[in-house]
């Protein structure tokens, strides 16, 4: 259960990209979680030896290319989110589930705010409060990831 390979990391990232490419319409796009970000955060916190800030940057670049937004926006915000995640990664064993969820929510919020700032600099309209819905749905996706691949809070037994 505890053993993970590089293949599973990249396959789950590919599936996340596929979910990102899924034709979201109307209300769906408001609630769409940041699939790539949640998946890369999970793997960064779970197995920091398999992926690093560079992987997050690459995932962000993929999101930029897929959404057609200015190239480098998501790459920037993903690398900063990855840095925050990695800087506390070693203390995660001390966290309980709620603390961990709050921690992930904080990272998702920071990433969201960064993208918002970049978009506002670019000259876009302020999207309003519904812009922050993906944090909630992202947390649901986080719980799903934990159900799929196992939790992070238990101490390692290998």
């Amino acid at each position: 259960m505890r053993h993970t390979s590089l293949v599973s990391v990249y396959i789950s990232l590919l599936i996340a990209l596929l979910c990102q490419l899924f034709p979201w319409v109307g209300q769906g796009i408001i609630f769409r979680p940041d699939f790539m970000l949640v998946v890369i955060l999970y793997w960064l916190l779970r197995t920091p030896n398999l992926c690093n800030v560079g992987t997050a940057w690459f995932a962000g670049l993929m999101v930029d290319l897929a959404t057609g937004s200015l190239l480098g926006q998501h790459a920037l915000s993903f690398s900063i989110a990855a840095f925050i995640a990695l800087s506390y990664q070693r203390r995660l064993v001390l966290f309980n589930t709620w603390q961990l969820t709050a921690y992930v929510a904080a990272i998702l919020t920071i990433e969201r705010v960064l993208i918002l700032l970049l978009k506002l600099f670019e000259g876009n309209e302020n999207p309003g409060w519904h812009y922050f819905w993906p944090i909630i749905t992202g947390l649901l996706l986080w719980q799903f990831m934990i159900m799929m691949f196992g939790g992070l809070t238990r101490p390692k037994t290998n």
Partner: protein, 336 residues
């Protein structure tokens, strides 16, 4: 014991014997610098459009897979549509086609008459642009921009800048072309503006997208002759949108005493969310003859127009005709 814990944490901070490459901080700094430079290059130069195109082409199979469920759903819906509904729809469509045919008969005679009059007045005959039928494959994935992605790309000779219309009116313009798909920016997007004309009084203006499903017509004085319910059509001045296509209807006019301009809000008539088919109009060739001034102006000073025509025929290749046309417009507009 405390000292021991401290040492343990220190060791965790800098694990010298686990080689894990550079620290997260240096990685973050490096990749942030890289993304900022990519952003600058992408925003200022067009070097990266090729990269984007190649990537989208490579991603096409994945997109097909991602779009498959919704297409299956659509097919299943089609398969199970009831016989009764189909018969009714068929009847309604036949009636509609009949009505359109009658209108079309009148249109063709009017068109011929118009062309004839224009030729009498030495005017230019507008060219009907060719069109390619496309289908919306999905809405844009970036919630900040108003775009749709259409299943026609550079393989079908689509070029950036082409106008896109549906059965009700103008949708927008092609902004990015990929090998198999192309991105259409809607007229409601903040980046797009469209030259329009009030159908009722031929007043020309430019409408800008507001980013929230409405259009704004700025820089018009508060006493301008625009009413709620006025229809906006394309003026055809830009040479991209053919003239006379429906764009929007005026829904709200606000007069702010502090501002010299009226705030005119209109909603587009084209309905992207409800149907899938749209037409991508071919770009007109960059010729002087395509810059068709509205016929009314030509009637007003057709003598001058005739003179200038002769002059311009003498100097065929220069842009003088266009300039003169614009000057005439300025003159005719001045008394209003």
């Amino acid at each position: 014991m405390l000292k021991g814990v401290h040492q343990k944490l220190e060791a965790q901070q800098t694990p010298a014997f686990f080689v894990r490459g550079p620290s997260p901080f240096s990685g973050m700094v490096f990749f942030c610098a890289l993304s900022v430079s990519i952003m600058a290059v992408d925003a200022r130069f067009n070097y990266l459009s090729q990269v984007r195109q190649a990537f989208i082409a490579a991603l096409h199979p994945l997109e097909v897979v991602a779009n498959a469920p919704s297409e299956w759903y659509r097919d299943v819906q089609k398969y199970f549509s009831a016989h009764n509904a189909l018969v009714q729809e068929n009847y309604a469509l036949k009636q509609q086609a009949f009505e359109h045919q009658i209108k079309l008969q009148r249109l063709s005679t009017i068109q011929a008459e118009n062309d004839h009059l224009r030729s009498l007045l030495n005017g230019n005959i507008p060219i009907q642009p060719k069109a390619v039928l496309g289908e919306i494959s999905h809405m844009g994935r970036d919630p900040f921009t108003h775009t749709v992605v259409v299943n026609r790309g550079s393989q079908q000779n689509i070029k950036a800048g082409q106008a896109v219309v549906d059965s009700k009116g103008v949708i927008g313009q092609v902004t990015r072309v990929y090998p198999f798909t192309s991105e259409v920016t809607l007229i409601t997007d903040k980046e797009l503006s469209i030259p329009i004309q009030i159908e009722r009084n031929q007043l020309r203006a430019i409408a800008f997208g507001e980013g929230n499903n409405t259009l704004d017509i700025p820089y018009l004085p508060t006493n301008v002759d625009i009413k709620v319910g006025d229809k906006l059509v394309t003026s055809g001045i830009d040479g991209v949108y053919p003239s006379g296509l429906a764009v929007a209807t005026v829904t709200k006019i606000q007069q702010n005493p502090e501002s010299p301009f009226a705030k005119i809000v209109s909603t587009p008539v084209a309905d992207v969310s409800n149907h899938l088919q749209l037409l991508l109009l071919e770009l007109p060739e960059a010729k002087e003859s395509n810059l068709v001034p509205p016929s009314a102006i030509e009637v007003v000073d057709h003598k001058k127009e005739g003179e200038t025509k002769k002059n311009s025929e003498l100097r065929k290749n220069s842009g003088t005709e266009k300039n003169i046309n614009h000057k005439n417009k300025a003159k005719t507009n001045a008394p209003h």
